[in-house]
Structures are given as C-alpha cells and as structure tokens.
C-alpha cells in the first residue's frame, strides 16, 4: 500500500527560491521484476517486444536508451512498466521527484508534427487501476531540444510517495508511432535532498569541458576532431549550516550526511538540479568525483564542503545550446 506525505514548507520554499537540490536513491534500481513495454491498441494492451531491453532505462546509464518495437498495427500509446521493490534496505522506496533523461520525445514530436504526452504514474498493481496516481505529466508539442523531463512537484502538490509497487512511464501520441520509435535513456524516481542555500560564489552551474583534438596540416590548415562537448564538470563550494538554519528551516549538514549515505559513499549516480524552481528541466545526471564528503568546520555551526560533479551523457549542454 502506497503512503503519501508532502515536502515540508521549508523544502517548498527552497525550491521556489532555486536552492540547490539533489535527487538520490532511484527507486527503479531496486526492482521486484523485469521491466517491460506495453503497447495499447485502443483499449487493449499487450506486452510489446523492445528493440533494446526495458531495464536499460534503470541501469544508471542514460546514453543506452530502450525503445519498444514497432507494432503491427502501429499504436499511439506505449507504457514502460516497472515493478518496484517496496522495501529497499528495510525502508519503503521513497519518490518525491522524477526525471527522465536520454529521451527523444520532443524532437520526435516535431518530426511527427504531433503532440506527445508523457506521464509518470504509480499504482498498486500492474493493471494500473487501483491506487492509480499520476506523479507528473509533460505535454510535448515539438522542438529541437530534448531536455530532461523533470518534476520536483509531484502531483502538483509536492507529494512524496512511499512503498509504490508499480510505476510506469506512459507515452501517448496523437497519432500512431511508426518509423522512429520513442526512446528513454534513464528514468530516475528518487528522494529529495534539498539544501537551504545556493553554492558559494563564485559558482558556475554550466561549467563544462569538451574533448576536441585539433591538428594542423602541413599548410597550417586546422582539422578538428570532436569526441564530445559540454560534458558538465560542476564544482560547488557550499557553506553548510549544522542544525536547523533559522533562515531556511533546513539542516544542511544533516542533508549532506544523508545525501552521501544515499550515494553509498559516492558510488551511485544522482540528479543535480541547480534551479529546481525556475528551470527544473536543466537537471543533470551526475556522479560525485572524487567520491568524498568532507565538511571543514570553521565555526561552531558552519562548515564548508567542496562537491565536484561529473556528468553522464547525454550531456545537458548540447540540449541547452543546440
């Protein structure tokens, strides 16, 4: 049975004020069964073959997308279904934010000149009838960018869900999919680790590096070979308050402690959102590198921590600046 609660008012205020947000512990990494695609033909559903396995949407890699196989007759609705383990490490799985990386849905909508609606839903059973709740919905009308689909405000009420046994990503189009199929790289449904402040200045949330080799030919002509661009490598220097901060209402040191535990000491990837209120779609799928958490306390209740992040592909930069 799924239980619900809501993010605290302090968390909600922090989101609205674009304070740094980490989303950790993807519930989809603890599964009670093998994920699968479902195709809907009118009111009838059937399991659909996938060109690439559905579990690739929950494997910690966003650049290996899963996609369903083309159905005959072609259909306009696919579900990517996950059976979640409801007792992860003795705790219920906890979902307060969702993000979808490595998809092609907006550009696909443009190519098809059709509207694609994406929903994340949970339910008590694979039938998705009882206990059905829609966590987030995005309506895509086409564009040249496939930014991550992110919601930090589930059900538009900052709802937190615990113990959800089934989750699906529903992809509905106003026409049948044929030719290019919808793809999803990674679905991240995790818990919020909200900090009360923004990183110390100077801070560049779009810090990135590219791997380009340039060489000159004998006449001086330049030939450049690009392997990747805009690989995020953000470095945050953060002043954390130990204890409940009177101004923010949040205990950042405790948050960082819990965040590091969620990452299993820095081993697990997570989601970094610099501006959760104004631009949640600019989320990045990252890892902590070096994988360390060291708070240098310089006052009785103030400490400084350096957090260095490396971004998993597909990178945010090329989507922000196509």
């Amino acid at each position: 049975m799924t239980t619900t609660s809501t993010k605290s008012s302090a968390e909600q205020a922090a989101i609205a004020a674009d304070k740094t947000l980490f989303v950790t512990k993807n519930a989809l990494r603890s599964l009670a069964g093998t994920p699968y695609w479902v195709a809907w033909n009118g009111g009838t559903s059937a399991n659909a073959d996938s060109i690439y396995e559905a579990v690739w949407a929950a494997d910690g890699q966003a650049d290996e997308p899963t996609m369903p196989a083309l159905q005959s007759p072609a259909v306009d609705t696919y579900d990517l279904v996950f059976n979640l383990d409801t007792t992860v490490d003795g705790n219920y799985n906890r979902i307060s934010d969702v993000a979808i990386f490595g998809h092609n849905l907006n550009t696909l909508s443009l190519a098809m000149t059709k509207t694609i609606t994406v929903s994340v839903q949970i339910a008590d059973s694979s039938a998705f009838t009882t206990g059905l709740a829609t966590l987030a919905t995005w309506t895509l009308t086409g564009g040249y960018r496939d930014l991550p689909l992110v919601s930090v405000d589930l059900a538009s009420a900052y709802t937190i869900y615990e113990g959800a046994p089934w989750l699906r990503v529903r992809i509905e189009c106003t026409a049948a999919f044929s030719g290019t199929m919808p793809q999803i790289g990674e679905v991240f449904a995790g818990r919020s680790r909200q900090l009360g402040r923004r990183p110390d200045r100077p801070f560049d949330p779009r810090s990135a590096t590219s791997n380009i080799t340039r060489q000159r030919t004998k006449t001086g002509s330049i030939a450049s070979y690009e392997r990747y661009t805009y690989a995020g490598d953000v470095r945050l220097t953060y002043t954390a308050y130990d204890g409940t901060d009177r101004d923010t209402g949040l205990d950042d040191v405790a948050t960082l402690e819990a965040w590091y535990q969620d990452l299993r000491g820095g081993a697990e990837p997570f989601v970094f959102i610099d501006s959760p209120g104004s631009a949640p779609e600019e989320a990045q799928f990252v890892a902590l590198d070096p994988p360390e958490r060291k708070i240098n306390f310089y006052d009785i209740d103030l400490g400084e921590i350096e957090i260095a992040l490396i971004e998993y592909p597909p990178f945010l930069g090329p989507e922000l600046y196509p």
Binding site: Y52, V55, W56, I212, T217, K218, A223
Partner: protein, 606 residues
C-alpha cells in the same frame, strides 16, 4: 577506391569532424535490429547504446614482395553495461558477423561507410570492459587442407575454385573479379598443378604429384607468382587485385591534406636479381629463370668495388609449362630439324595441357581457345629454350645459355609426317581421360626487338640452331612478369612511408595508387615527393577515436621505368652437382704405385 556518399564526404571534411562508429553484431541475415542483430555506437545521440569505447586495428598490410596480405585480429571494446552484457549473455556469437561502419554525428545511417565486416571470435571481459576479438571472414576458412588439382587454368578461376571448394558463400566474394577476362592484360595466362605420372624419357617433368596443402598455402602460391592480392572490402567481400605497375594514381594528396608523413626508409627491400624455380619432377624443381640488373649491382657496389648482389628466389608449384621442341620448321637445304635463326615459329610438344600461356584449349572437342585467352601482339608469351647439348653455335654445343623467345600466337596442330613421325592422335591426359592437343605451334614476334629472339639480354645472341630431341621449352611468361614487376620496383629499393591524412580521405583504400606533395621525402635524385612519384597503398587504417585521428596509409613506392635491360643469368635446367675427380695414384714408369714410407698411395692433382 571506396565510394562514400557525398553526404559522408561532406561530413568528413566539415569542422569539427564528429566521427561515430556503429558496430553491429549480426547473428541472422534477416538483420532486424533487436531480433537478428544489435548495434552499438561510440557516442550517444545515434539511437543506439553508446557503449563502444574503442575500435582496434582494422586494416591489414600487403608485403610488396610476396603480395601476401597480413590481417590483424581486431579488438572492439565495449563498456561493461547492461547493453553489452545482454549481447554476450543472450546468445552464442562466435563466427557471427560483426559489421563496423564509420559515420559522423548528424549523418543519416544509410550514408555510413562500411569499413570492415569481420567474424566474432572471442570475448574477454574485465570489470570495466568487454573486449570482443574479431578476425577477417575468409582467413578463418583457409587452414583447411586440400589436394585440388588444376589443368590449364587461369589464376583467377583457380583461386575462386579453391575458395568455393571451402563452401564460402557466393556473397563473400566478387565472382566477376575472378573471371579470366576480368583483367584483359592477363587473360592469356595459364597455370597447371596437376598429377602427371608420365615417365617416358622424352617427357621433361616426370612423376608429377602434389602433397596436400592448406588452402592458404595454395592460394598464396598463386597470388605470389601472379603479383596478386586477395582482399576483403568493407563488406567482407573478397576481390582479386593484381599489381599493375602501369595503373594510374586515383588521388593526389596536397600538403593541406597531410597531417603527418613518417618515412620508414627509402632503400628498403632492395633486390637486383630474381629467380623463379619451377617445373617439379620427382620432387625437385628442375628449372629456373633468372634475370639480373647488373647496373644496379654496380650502383650499390661495396667500397672495394665488388658488386652488391641481392637475390630473391621463389619456388612455385604452379608453373609447370615445360615441353619439348619438336617437328620445327626445316629450312631448305637442311637435313635435320630444329629451331633455326631464321625460323618464324616453333612447335612444342605437351604445351597443350601443361599450362602454357595462350594454350587454354577446350578439352575433348574442337580445342578452341576462349576469346580473351589468346596470344597476340599485346598479349605475348615468353618461352625459354634450354637443355643439355641443345644449343648449337658455329658447329659446337653451347650449354648454360638459355634463350627467351617472344611469341604472339598459339595454335594446336595435328602431328604430321614431318620429321619422320607418324600421325599420332592427341594425347590422353590421365587420370581424367580428357584429350588435349599434343602439339602447339607458336608464332615468333619477328617484329619485336631482335626479331623476337634472345629477349632480356643486354647482348642479344641468336644461336644457329636449337636441336630437336634435346631442347626443352618452358613457358616463363608469368615468371617474367613477376620478375619485371619486382625488378623495376626494387633495384633501387622500395621506399616505405606512413602518411596520416584527414579522415575525409577514407575513399582511398589498399591497392590504390596515389601521389602526394611533401617536402620531407628524400631519395636518389628526388628532393621532395610530387605527383611524379607514385605510391601503392599497402595498408589503410581509420583512426577515428585516437588521440591522433585521421586516416593512416602505409605506402610503398611504385616504379615503372625499366632503366636497364635485364640479363638472363646462368643456366636453367637441372645440373648434377660438380663432382671433384680424384687423381689416379702416381706410378713409376714400371707401373708400380708410388707409396709413402708408411705404405700410403700418393695421388695426382685434381
């Protein structure tokens, strides 16, 4: 040359170049993604898992002397992700196809260039990666043993027969490439490697039989003597490519196209004397033809003036065109037969089935020669005459002095009473019981230099007569072509360079001829490479993911100018080892033997 699409070429030269490898593992020819194959990419955004981290060496390399192509094992590395693990754990992949395509970000997949089609051999996992080891498709098959025999066969169909006998699907070789008329310049060539148990005294090659060999050895033997390479193109289809020193360059690289030039050496593989040993009889190679470049030997003489002799010798099972001179033109006034200095033709017994060029007569019927397989002025054959006490000059026998004659027509003739022999039906060739012409009449190219006689000699010398019954006639057409190819190329050494160009030059492929401009290259009388110097691409390799990207070409210099006439060297034919004669014991005038004080005989000088 490869033929990339215009879109590929444009993407390959547009700044910045963003190369992408697509590696497809295919286990069923239906090739439906996900069902029959899985494709992985070297970067995201292609719709395929971005799991490829490295594509190892793809290109092989041709040895310019042996024409043998050595192909490496290629290792493809995949990140150890769910996708890569699913590939390996889900099916048995050994001997399945691996297709490697190269394209660029934004390029339509249909425009990707297929650079290699390999066979999956093995996987080596570690904690971070899975290394997939692959080989060239045909190489795996060639270790099978075979004792296939060939009578009067052109090298192209012979190689094809060997390939098809292995069960290689027709989709893996370009059948038209192997037709005898695919290369019009050599349609008249002929080989033989057949069992011939004859033991008659007049038959030059006796008890010919052949041991079992691997198909690789058999094919290598044909490729070497015919200056041909068996190559696989990007689709894994084998083609038959002959080295033609007169072929035109397909591309010229300018300085702005070249990222790096690395000369390996300019006087590499220097040889100035070439010998082909052929004609197996009772297990021995009885005959040989040798040409030398004596001027080159002096050019590279040692400090004391001794000529620098650097020989190269091959033995081949495939040249068995050895017959005997018979029933030749009898000029008026001469009572005995033979090939005279004024003769315009010669007749050779056994030429009808021993693999003489221009003599690929259809057996068992009208004995016609296929169109394109005949001799003519542009497609001559070269016959070498030799034999003990066979050459007559000024009334005496001259041994150790073979003669090469240029002939431009061949026709089978029915034996007549000329020379005293009775009419004889065509020979029956055992064990197949096919009939081939017994006698072939070769017309001498009297319009050629020296009237077609005494070819390849710096001082042409036509004998008075070659005797019937003693003169051996060997077809050295293919052997001389091999020698000439290598002689023109290697008497000054075959310069060796490695050139890295930008990736848009991937239309150049192995066996192409190219030219390039560069200031670094130096050679005798050459300061800088220009379009006047031609190079053979002996290996090519895309380097799309390297720290030093581009397309790397291994180049060996091509030469076409024949600087000096080549001289046929020494004798051909089997020679008994020189026997040292012991002197007789010394004797007194009385006849008694002279002995030492210990009673041992004393012998005279040797």
């Amino acid at each position: 040359m490869r033929s990339p699409s215009a879109a590929w070429s444009l993407a390959a030269r547009s700044e910045p170049r963003r190369p992408v490898y697509l590696v497809t593992f295919r286990w069923d020819s239906a090739a439906v993604e996900g069902t029959d194959q899985l494709t992985f990419a070297s970067r995201p955004g292609t719709g395929y898992p971005a799991t490829v981290t490295d594509v190892g060496q793809l290109g092989g390399q041709i040895d310019p002397i042996t024409r043998e192509m050595t192909s490496p094992r290629t290792t493809i590395k995949l990140r150890r992700t769910s996708a890569a693990k699913a590939l390996v754990t889900g099916r048995r992949l050994r001997n399945k196809q691996v297709v490697i395509r190269l394209g660029f970000v934004g390029l339509d997949e249909s425009d990707y260039l297929t650079v290699a089609t390999l066979l999956y051999q093995n996987q080596i996992p570690d904690e971070h990666e899975i290394a997939i080891v692959c080989t060239r498709s045909l190489g795996v098959l060639f270790e099978t043993k075979s004792k296939m025999l060939f009578t009067n066969q052109h090298p192209g169909p012979a190689v094809k027969s060997l390939i098809t006998a292995l069960g290689v699907p027709s989709t893996l070789y370009a059948s038209a490439d192997f037709a005898f008329d695919a290369d019009p310049k050599i349609g008249h060539w002929n080989l033989s490697r057949h069992r011939d148990p004859r033991t008659e005294a007049w038959v030059p090659l006796q008890q010919q039989d052949w041991e079992e060999k691997s198909v690789r050895e058999l094919i290598s033997g044909i490729l070497q003597i015919t200056s041909t390479t068996l190559l696989e193109n990007g689709d894994g289809v084998a083609r038959f490519s002959r080295y033609d020193r007169d072929a035109a360059a397909v591309k010229h690289l300018r300085r702005k196209d070249i990222v790096e030039l690395r000369p390996i050496g300019t006087v590499e593989d220097l040889f100035n004397e070439f010998t082909v040993r052929f004609g197996r009889s009772k297990g021995e190679y009885l005959y040989k033809v040798t040409l030398e470049d004596s001027a080159a030997k002096l050019n590279y003489a040692y400090p004391n003036g001794d000529p620098f002799k650097m020989p190269q010798t091959i033995e081949t099972d495939w040249l068995n065109g050895v017959g005997s001179l018979t029933d030749a033109d009898i000029p008026p006034g001469f009572a005995t037969g033979g090939l005279y200095d004024s003769s315009t033709y010669l007749v050779v017994a056994l030429a009808g089935y021993k693999g003489f060029s221009g003599c690929r007569f259809d057996p068992d019927g009208a004995h016609t020669i296929p169109t394109g397989a005949e001799l003519d002025a542009d497609h001559p054959a070269y016959l070498m005459l030799t034999g003990s006490d066979a050459r007559v000059e000024s009334g005496r026998y001259v041994n150790d002095k073979p003669e090469i004659i240029k002939v431009i027509a061949a026709e089978f003739i029915t034996p007549t009473a000329a020379g005293g022999s009775a009419s004889t039906p065509p020979d029956v060739f055992a064990p197949d019981n096919h009939t081939y012409p017994r006698l072939v009449k070769f017309t001498i190219d009297t319009g050629a230099t020296n009237g077609g006689r005494s070819q390849f000699s710096s001082s042409p010398d036509i004998p008075d007569r070659w005797r019937l019954g003693a003169t051996i006639v060997a077809d050295v057409t293919i052997a001389l072509d091999w020698i000439q190819n290598l002689m023109t190329r290697s008497t000054e050494g075959i310069a060796d360079v490695e050139l890295r160009a930008n990736i848009e030059h991937g239309d150049i492929e192995t066996t192409d001829f190219i030219t390039f401009d560069d200031d670094v290259f130096l050679d005798f009388e050459i300061d800088g490479a220009t379009s006047a110097i031609t190079w053979e691409v002996t290996g090519d390799e895309p380097r799309a993911l390297d720290d030093s990207p581009g397309w790397v070409f291994k180049l060996r210099r091509v030469r076409t100018d024949i600087a000096t006439p080549y001289v046929i060297v020494g004798q051909s034919g089997y020679q008994q080892p020189t026997q040292l004669a012991w002197g007789d014991p010394m004797t007194f005038t009385t006849g008694d033997v002279v002995t030492t004080t210990t009673g041992e005989f004393l012998y005279g000088g040797f």
